[in-house]
Structure formats: structure tokens, C-alpha cells
Symmetry: C2
Amino acid sequence: MTPTLQDCRALDAQDPLRALRQQFTLPEGVIYLDGNSLGVLPTATASRVAEAVTQEWGQGLIRSWNSAGWFDAPQRLGDKIARLVGAAPGEVVATDSTSVNLYKVLSAALNIAREDAPVRTVLVSERSNFPTDLYIAESLCRERGLQLRLVEPEDMAGALTAEVAVLMLTHVNYRTGAMHDIAAVTQAAHRAGILAVWDLAHSAGAVPVDLNGAQADFAVGCSYKYLNGGPGAPAFVWAHSRHASRFWQPLAGWWGHAAPFEFTPDYRPAPGITRFLCGTQPILSLAALDCGLDTVLAAEPLGGMAALRAKSLALSELFIALVEARCAGHGLGLATPRDPAQRGSQVCLTRPEGAYAIVQALIARGVIGDFRAGDGNRHLDILRFGLTPLYIGFEDVWQAVEHLRQVLESGEWQQARFNQKQAVT
Amino acid sequence: MTPTLQDCRALDAQDPLRALRQQFTLPEGVIYLDGNSLGVLPTATASRVAEAVTQEWGQGLIRSWNSAGWFDAPQRLGDKIARLVGAAPGEVVATDSTSVNLYKVLSAALNIAREDAPVRTVLVSERSNFPTDLYIAESLCRERGLQLRLVEPEDMAGALTAEVAVLMLTHVNYRTGAMHDIAAVTQAAHRAGILAVWDLAHSAGAVPVDLNGAQADFAVGCSYKYLNGGPGAPAFVWAHSRHASRFWQPLAGWWGHAAPFEFTPDYRPAPGITRFLCGTQPILSLAALDCGLDTVLAAEPLGGMAALRAKSLALSELFIALVEARCAGHGLGLATPRDPAQRGSQVCLTRPEGAYAIVQALIARGVIGDFRAGDGNRHLDILRFGLTPLYIGFEDVWQAVEHLRQVLESGEWQQARFNQKQAVT
């Protein structure tokens, strides 16, 4: 039987993670289903950033590089991220952007793979991977005379051939929310002599990740989505300890030097993950990220990522059930896998026409999801809804679907003002 | 005759730029001579960053990518920087770190130079260049099988041979404050068929720079020194319009794509400088940078960089004269060129021993400069003092030198607590 509004309120009342929502400042009248794109503001962030600006910078000035721990922030925040992705202390640094970090780890992975087996000249990824990942891979392959081979998910297994050096995948697909099994795919890659590089942009903080358990090779991730680090917050990078000191990476700047304050003209890489640092990092944005990480770590006493995952799946199951029961007959399809084991923390709906306008009509009602255009071929236009268990409740889902139902039944999305396309991110 | 304290107060009273100091919040009891390392806090920054946190992020959420102009911030701030370095609107973007940006422009410059003349296999720089510049150059040369040749300043002219592809220099030397003539050196390089890449880390906002007038090829720079952007603020990158669209650069991420929101799997570089963007940028740190840039642009109605330069030189002339008159007999030497035309906006003193302890004793008195270790050979230990004309006055210089005199004459620097070396940045 389809859950009622009262059922949803009862689920919220019983939710052991409910109190975690108190960590955030959410706008009045908004149901925010876009935490998969930009996480919401932790209440602690404003005062923490203000302290970094007025006290650490304004009063401490240059002394704060040491006294306020600015210089060690990439490692200190990296250790917090490590707890969320199955890595050990000292294995992660928070730095640069996901794209830049991907360049570092793909370079290192290609060096390792090709030193071990020079005949491996192919980098494999999914055609539907987030484009910036493909652009960085394309660039590296062009520079090195290697081949980038893009495949559809169903052709992945057959693509792991003896000429492949590196497999680069995003754990949770940004368009559909489809999730890979990191351990199984990594194992399949390793059996074929291929290194596995993972992008955790849409999974860190959203689903359990166990990088060391999976024996993955390298990983990068984004911290402004489910980690609530703020717009454009520095990303992160991880290397398995068996690889971390094996190669330097090409963005070999002074923050990755073994002794940066000796100011020697020759580069000598720091041991371990620190060599994946390059230049000076944006401290104010790192201060905000610190607060974002704390909001996710606050779930640890309540069951941590496993508890967040359980709630996330309960939310997405509810969302799917309500859409199918209450919005039937309006041409919506489900792009997200129905199998919970293959689903990230988002639900994506398809519609042959009007998807952009429907999303705009929802936003006008305060229900913020987003739109991703299809390719007019294999992929349909998508209405994307992120379900962030830290701050989304069961009633939020009920109300969001009710708004969707009203938008569809009233036909209000057909108003011209919702059809004016603008740039969305 | 040596200027007196009264003379210095008179100079401050007559200083047409004096009011610019009101833009900043400086700690009580501090004379800050380290703006060449980290600029001070503009008063406007705290509320601007708070607005970005609480309103743009907290309330606007994902909508602020468009409504708050987050997505265009690299270009908008770049246009402000352009006014300070002799570049045109649309030629500069604020993004990433100086090291990462150097990787981009050196890659592009090497591609261009070697496409035009494959026999050119050498990249030349100064041995005393800031180390991260050398590390990035070393990395690129290693990857491409090229040679990095490091020379002393006096050997530069002879090093511009037919096998050189690119000359990479920092405009103002971080250790000594010695300044190159960008136009003359670029012209000499071009006569020899060599591209000139400039690092403006210690000159942007401190001395006049005319990149287009000098016909330079590429430039990068730092925004947390004289541009007061805050700790680790995003850096900037410029390419001459004749090169900007000629090559992509290897950090080819989605922010540098011609149509980033089409999410196509193939990279198509944006026209012009935008292709030098890579991944999503740290918006909170960019908001702070915006305020920093405004503090320098506020000098425009008062004569702009030329007026700032005139005051900077008056300050450094005064500093040198006072040290030589009032601290004579204490073993201090001058590492900064005596010729004003060859001097940046800092004064560096040498001392065979005790330089570190003297700097520490000055810091304990509230006079913040910094220390740079020598190499035990060509370069002596250095006491480094940045003279930022936006917020340093003539009396500040007098008082700083008076503190230095007292530290030297009292011998207080010989106390053990000043000799405990700690990491400095």
C-alpha cells in the first residue's frame, strides 16, 4: 500500500538520524533535493569561516600558517575524509579540484601500469562518465599517444583486455545514480592486470565506500556535494599505500616536496600521499570544508555511513513508490536502478518531453532538483533528485512528490516562463 | 642627512595615498612588513565572505551558480587583475594555484615553441627562482624528455641560445627583491626565437607590469601577496592573445570547455583564456579575493600602479638609508639591488650569523618580517621586509628600523628563545 503523509511523518518521528538535520541552516519553504550537486550550509560554517577571516588571517597574519594549522590543513581534513571512504589516516589529502586531482592520479596510474607492462596502451572509461573525467583522460592519452576507449556499462566486462592499462570509473553515475560495486569491478580489473581509478564525487558521504577493503588503486572525490564543504570546496585524492610513494605525479609543486621550506632547486617528493599536493591551498574554503566534514562524521555514533545508507535507500524507495503510485499516467520513467544495491543516493526520472520545464515549475514551488539534458538517442532528458539522508526527511519526499503530481496534473509546467532554458549546473 | 622621525611623520602627512590604509584591518601594535608573503585583511572582506556563506550559499544554494555569478567569477576577477598587469579584459582568469597555472602555461609554451622549432629542447630559468616554479619546470621537462637549464642572473644573456624553447622567469625574486625588466628580457628572448613565461607572484599589485606592452607570451601570478586575496587565494593566468587559442593545455577540465553544460564526452576548448580553467573553483576564497583586488584598484583615481610604485620606492629608499645610518657596524649587508629600477617592493638584508634570531626578536616586538635561509655558499641568510605602499607608511619604516637597531644593540636576539628554529612560510 502506498505510504500516506501520516506514514511519512511517523517514519520521521522514528528516524534515529533525525537530529542530524539540526546541524544545517536551510532556507524557509525549500525542499532541497540537490545536495548531490551542492550540499547545504552547516550552521557552524559561518562562524568558523568568520574566525578564519578575522582572527586567523586578520590578526594572526603570516603566523597562522603554523599557529592556526593552515599548512597542515590538507592532511588534517584528509584524515577526516579517510574515515568516510575506507582509507587510513595519512592516505588522503584535501586539495585542488577533482579534475586536477584526476590528472595527478591518472598520470601516476598510467606510469605504474605501463612500467609494468608497456604493451598496455588503452585507458577505459564509461561513455556516460562525468565529462570532466573524460576530458582529463582524453588530454593525458593525447599527450602520451595512448588510446581512450569509452564503453557502455553493459560492455564493460568485455572491455578489460590485455591492452588496457587503467580503468577509470565514477562510483555513482551523475546522470542516473547507477552505482558500481567498487570491490567487484576492481577485482575484475586486477584479474586482467588493469589498475582501477575511482571518482567518488557522487558517493563520498552518500554511500559506504571501502577503498582499502576493495584494494582499489587510486581515488579522487568532490567535497561540495554530500560532504557539504561549500561551493567549489577543495576536492580530495587517495592512493593505495602500495602506490603512494612509487611515482611522483606531474603537478610536482612545493607543497608536495619532502622539505618545502628548504627551498632547494631540485624536487624531492614527500613520502606518501603528501606528494599529491602541488601549490598553496585556499584556506578559507578549507575552513568551510572542515565544518562540512564534521556534519557527516557526526553520524558516526549513530551508525555512520551504514546508517546513512539505510536511510538514503529508505528515502529513495519511498520516492520511487510515491512517484509510481501518485504520478502514474504522466509519462515518467525511472532512470535510476530499481535494485537498491545498484543505486546511489539520488532518484532520476525520465520524460520524453517537458523535463526541463517540470524541474523549473518545481523550483518555483520551492522543490529544488535539477535537469540534465539527454543526448536525443540512448539517454533521455532527466529530472534529478538528490536524497541526502543528513537533512532530508520522509515527509520532505512526500511533499516533493505531491508538488510533482500537482505540477503534472495542473499542466502548469507548460507555461512559457518555465520553458526558457538557462544555464544550470 | 638621515631622515628623522619627524621627517617621516611629515612624509606620511603629505602622502597622497595615505587614505588607502583605511581599507584594512591591521592588528594593534604590529608593523607588518610581510605583505610580500601574505597581504593583510581588507575590512570589506569579512562581510563579503559572510554574505557569500550565509546568503549566496545558505539561501541561494545551487541557484547561486547563476544568480550570484559564481560561475563567471574567474573571468570577472580576472578582468580586475588585468587592469593591474597591463592585460586586456578577457585575457586573465583567476583560478587554481600558481604552480598549477604554471604547469598549464609552460605546457602550452613548450607546445608552441617546439611545434615551430622541434630542435629547441631546453627550458631556461634562474637557479634562484622560487622553487615551486623550478619543480613544475623539472616535471614537465622530465615528462617530455627536455632539459631544464638553471643559470645565475649574470649568465642569462648568454643562455639564450638556439636550442632554448622557453625562458621562464619570476619578475621579482622572492629572496632578494631583484627585479627583471620584462620588456627588455622578453625582447631579448624573442630575438633569439624563445618564448618568455613570467611569474608575477612578487610583482602583481606591487610594481607596474605591462604584459601586452612587453609583448610577453604567458604569465601567472599569486593573489594572496600584494593583491590581499587571503591565505591561499586562487592564483591567476594570462596568455597573450596571439597564443590563447592556439593550443589546449593539458589540465583540460570542464570549466575550460567551450560548452560545459552540454556535458559532451569530447573536449572542445573554449576560445581564449577560458580554456586555461580546469575544475570547479573555491567560491568563498574567490569572494575574498574580489575584495583584495578592490583595495588595489582603489588606487586608480590616485595614480594607480605608478603612484603605488613611487611610494614603494620612497619607502625602500628610506628603509635602506635608515638601516645604513642607524644600524651601521652590526654586520648587515644589502641583498636587494641599490638601483631602484632593479628593485621590487621589498628590502632584504643579509647577515653572516643570527639572521633567523634577529627576525624572531623583531616579531616578538611586533615588527613582522621574515627569514630566508641561505645556501651556505652563494646566498647568505636573509632578513626580508616587504614594503606594501597600500598600508605601510614612512613612520612605520622608521619605527621598524628603530626596533632593528635596538635588537642589534641590546643583543636581545642572542637569547635562546629566538634561536629555536621553527617552520616559517
